[in-house]
Every structure is written in structure tokens, then in C-alpha cells.
């Protein structure tokens, strides 16, 4: 819950609440990525993060990896989509400077949903016999105990992130945030020990008490702190509010290919940003 129910945090305060080496869950592009908080995290010099992408990531993961904030990345995929491969992610995995835990999107969702329920594991169809399954020592195959004939099923341990971090559309003075239909954020926030969010605009009222918003709201009981951050997903999109900044992303995809280009990008858009 927020401080005293009357004040919002600053973006830099939010970043200060993310400890080094924590398990940090972040949503996919267009799922409400807090790029404002991501830049603040880099400025604060967070390091050794275990970054869990729910279930994929793009610019956010690439920036955090390039800036040396990430020890381990667990993901369904990291890509800049039509702007190309995520250049810092690619280099870091190829050179071994970041540990990668290759997963698959439904496995990440299921492991978080197990944590939502406080269940020790989730059972899932498919996946058995792939190299994805073979290289995961933490996954187990059992025989379906309810079947009369052999029926192997994959078990995944629950994933409980230390923190879920995302960008909501609206926030109110009760600590509630409205994410609309971005259920990835709900799953991550419910599964995690605590959650932090930036939000696009202030809602004058109580989102949980308002029938029009309640279904798309994450209640303040899950939220440790929230911060107002207009255009907080930029240069990514916040559907319903603004599209992505394609020119910017295209320029980043090019700059990120070299260490010098990436450093220049950080200096201009991250370190040089006036919070």
C-alpha cells in the first residue's frame, strides 16, 4: 500500500525501491511497459537483476542489459519486432555476459498463475521433448495421476517475483491503478511479493469503487508505490493513449548495434533525461 493514501511517489523514488539482484517482472511491449521507471533504474545504477519478461520484452530488456543492470534474463523472447533483433540482448547472450533462461510464453504465465494461487507448481500440456524442456533442470515430468493410461505432463515450479514493475493508464490517490485489459500486469502484480507502477494520468476518485473501472484495476493492496509519469511508456506504445515512436525505435535499433552507439543513446535519452 502507498505511503499514506494521499501522495504519489516520484519516478526516482520508485526506482530506489528496486533492490539490486532482485527478481523483477516486467510486461511485454504494448502491455504497459514503464520506460520512465526503466530509465530511472539505469540512472540509479541497479545491477545483477534477474529480469523476468512477462512473457517477452523488447527495448526495455535491451536497455537494461546494455547498461549492465542484468545478470539473468528469463523470457519467451526478446526482440525489437519489425525494427530487428534486440542488439544488446543478442550480444550479451552470444558473449555469455548475461545468463539466459529460455522459457516459453505459456510457461511463464502458468508459473506466475501458480504463484497467484500460492500453489507450488503448475501443470502444462505441450513442451515435452523440446530442447527448451531438456535444458530446464527445474522442470519435471510426471505421469498424470488421474489418467488410466500413461499421460506425461510437465510441471513448472511457481515463480514469485520480488517486484512487478509496469506502466498503468490511470492511478488514484488510494494506490489503485487501472491497466484496462493488460492482464499480464495483473498476473505479475498478484504473483509478486510487491508491485510498483508508473501511470499515465491521475484518476479523480476510487478506481476499485467505480464499476466502470473495477474489473481493469489492480487494487492498492498489491501496490507498494505508484508515480505519475505522463508518456511513461515512450517510446513504446500505450494502446488507447499513444502509438509507438517508430522513428525513435528505428534509430535505437541502429545505434544499439555498437557499444559506442549504445553509449551515445544512453547519454542522450537516459542519463541526460530530466526526470
Amino acid at each position: 500500500m502507498m505511503t499514506d493514501g494521499t501522495g504519489f511517489s516520484s519516478i526516482e523514488d520508485l526506482a530506489a525501491r528496486v533492490p539490486d539482484a532482485c527478481l523483477l517482472a516486467v510486461p511485454k511491449d504494448e502491455g504497459g511497459v514503464s520506460m520512465a521507471a526503466t530509465r530511472a533504474l539505469i540512472r540509479r545504477g541497479v545491477h545483477d537483476l534477474h529480469l523476468l519478461c512477462v512473457p517477452t520484452s523488447g527495448l526495455q530488456a535491451d536497455l537494461l542489459i546494455g547498461a549492465g543492470c542484468v545478470a539473468t534474463i528469463e523470457c519467451g523472447a526478446v526482440t525489437l519486432d519489425e525494427f530487428g533483433l534486440a542488439p544488446r540482448f543478442r550480444d550479451a547472450v552470444q558473449s555469455g555476459s548475461v545468463r539466459i533462461i529460455d522459457s516459453t510464453c505459456p510457461a511463464i504465465y502458468a508459473a506466475l498463475q501458480a504463484s497467484e494461487k500460492g500453489s507450488p507448481f503448475a501443470a502444462l500440456r505441450g513442451i515435452i521433448g523440446s530442447d527448451v524442456e531438456r535444458q530446464r533442470d527445474d522442470w519435471k515430468i510426471i505421469e498424470n495421476p488421474f489418467a488410466s493410461t500413461p499421460d506425461p505432463v510437465l510441471l513448472l515450479p511457481a515463480i514469485q517475483p520480488d517486484i512487478a514493475l509496469f506502466h498503468a493508464r490511470l492511478g488514484d490517490r488510494h494506490g489503485n491503478v487501472w491497466i484496462g485489459n493488460k492482464r499480464e500486469c495483473v498476473i505479475a502484480a498478484h504473483a509478486a511479493k510487491t508491485a510498483l507502477a508508473t501511470f499515465e494520468a491521475e484518476f479523480d476518485g476510487n478506481l476499485v469503487a467505480d464499476e466502470r473501472y473495477a474489473a481493469g484495476t489492480i487494487a492498492g493492496v498489491y501496490m507498494e508505490a505508484t508515480a505519475l509519469a505522463p508518456k511513461g511508456a515512450w517510446p513504446l506504445a500505450l494502446p488507447g493513449y499513444y502509438g509507438r515512436d517508430s522513428d525513435h525505435l528505428r534509430a535505437y535499433a541502429k545505434a544499439g548495434r555498437s557499444a559506442d552507439g549504445f553509449a551515445a543513446y544512453l547519454a542522450e535519452h537516459v542519463i541526460g533525461e530530466t526526470p
Partner: protein, 239 residues
């Protein structure tokens, strides 16, 4: 009959493979399969439902990322498209990278939902425009999703076809091999063999991939142009 282009022909070939499907799911960054799914939807009078993942207008889902996967496991998605950095002759797909694992020589984005959907969606169409020995390899370096599974494993899904910029193959699940279905105009069997890293079966008579039907071109260039343009402005502008 008006002239048609390569993309239009591929869209129609893929749409033909969705006959009778109810749910068709396509990844957001695949304009040709997405256009094909929308064409199949238009042809079917709405019985076929296209789900363009990431598309704002064309997703019938509202419950977030897990919903597609949950529906697939329930058997309610009939067709899915899959690309792949590498595809081999047994229908194995690699979305992770070439060379050793995990420190790949060339790292790809990652598995996405492939290790799951390939098992559960009955008709998975492998679509990759690039038809070269770089992509179509004898054996994938990493099996993101296997083309087939041992008996006794729950596996209603798997590869149905492989469509490239040169040819159409159908997958024979019993033989665990691809069989050439048709060559695109201008392609020869010898040329396609030269560019394919795995062996495949060939019928006695190899046909040419059919041109788009006039009705389909009317749809693609008319009512569907705006629909596709909403999702892929650059793709429509380039056509």
C-alpha cells in the same frame, strides 16, 4: 485478369490452407499470414475467426496473454503460423539460435509460444519467405519445438505445411517428412533442391502454385486493404 504480385499469391495459398478452420491465430509481425487469415475470414463470411496477436482491432480476446494459449490447449484454435530461424526436414523448428547453446553463434529472439502451440494446434503452417540452406537445414541446432513426438504423448497438433518464397510442401506425419506440393512460378525442382538443406519427397507430377483467384484479388485490393493497413501500414504501402 489483372497482374498480381508475389505477396498476393502467397496470401491466397495460405488462405486455401485454412478451409473450414474456426480459430486462426497469427503472430503480430507476420503481414502475409495475417493477411491470409483475414482473407480466409472474409471468404468464410465470418465463420473463420482471425486472431492477429497484438492487433487492436482483430483480436476477439480481451483477457490478456494467457487466453490464446488456454484456448489452444482446449482445442479451440485450429490454425497457427510459425516461422523459424531454422527448419529441418523432420519439421523441427529452431527459434533460439545457431551453433552451441546457450552462447549461440547467432542468437534469435527466443521460443515465444512455439514449444506449446506446435503440440496443441492441429494445423500449424510453417511460413518462411527465405528459402535457402541457411534456413532449411538438415538438422536444427536447437529444437524449440519438435516436428513429431513419441506415441503416448498428448499431441493433437503439429506441422501441416511449409510455405516459402519458392514452393509449397505438405508434411507427412507418418513418414515425418515433407512432400513437395507445388513450385511457385519460375522455380524448378532442381533449383529448389539446390536451395533446400534437407531431402523431401516429390510426387510423380509437380504442379505450379496456382495464381490468386480474381475474387480474392478484389477482396485484397478493396475492403481488406484498409483492414490490413491498420495493422501493417508499411506492408500495404509497399504493395
Amino acid at each position: 485478369m489483372t497482374a498480381w504480385n508475389r505477396e498476393e499469391a502467397l496470401i491466397c495459398v495460405l488462405a486455401d490452407m485454412m478451409q473450414g478452420a474456426r480459430g486462426v491465430a497469427v503472430g503480430a509481425t507476420s503481414p502475409i499470414p495475417a493477411s491470409a487469415a483475414l482473407l480466409a475470414q472474409a471468404r468464410s463470411g465470418g465463420r473463420t475467426k482471425a486472431m492477429i496477436l497484438g492487433g487492436v482491432q482483430h483480436g476477439p480476446f480481451n483477457d490478456g496473454g494467457p487466453e490464446l494459449f488456454d484456448r489452444a490447449a482446449q482445442g479451440r484454435i485450429d490454425v497457427f503460423f510459425l516461422g523459424g530461424g531454422q527448419i529441418d526436414g523432420e519439421g523441427n523448428v529452431n527459434l533460439v539460435g545457431t551453433g552451441p547453446y546457450p552462447r549461440a553463434d547467432a542468437r534469435f529472439p527466443g521460443n515465444f509460444g512455439a514449444p506449446y502451440l506446435y503440440f496443441l494446434v492441429p494445423r500449424v503452417i510453417l511460413f518462411r519467405e527465405e528459402h535457402s540452406k541457411r534456413v532449411l537445414v538438415p538438422k536444427v541446432d536447437f529444437v524449440s519445438a519438435p516436428g513429431s513426438s513419441p506415441d503416448g504423448l498428448h499431441r493433437p497438433g503439429g506441422p501441416h505445411a511449409l510455405v516459402t518464397g519458392r514452393a509449397v510442401f505438405l508434411f507427412d506425419r507418418g513418414a515425418r517428412r515433407f512432400r513437395l506440393q507445388s513450385l511457385h512460378p519460375g522455380e524448378t525442382l532442381a533449383g529448389v533442391r539446390d536451395e533446400t538443406g534437407f531431402t523431401f519427397d516429390v510426387p510423380d507430377e509437380v504442379t505450379e502454385t496456382p495464381p490468386p483467384a480474381a475474387d480474392d484479388l478484389v477482396l485484397l485490393r478493396g475492403p481488406m486493404r484498409d483492414q490490413i493497413g491498420e495493422i501493417y501500414p508499411e506492408f500495404v504501402a509497399g504493395r
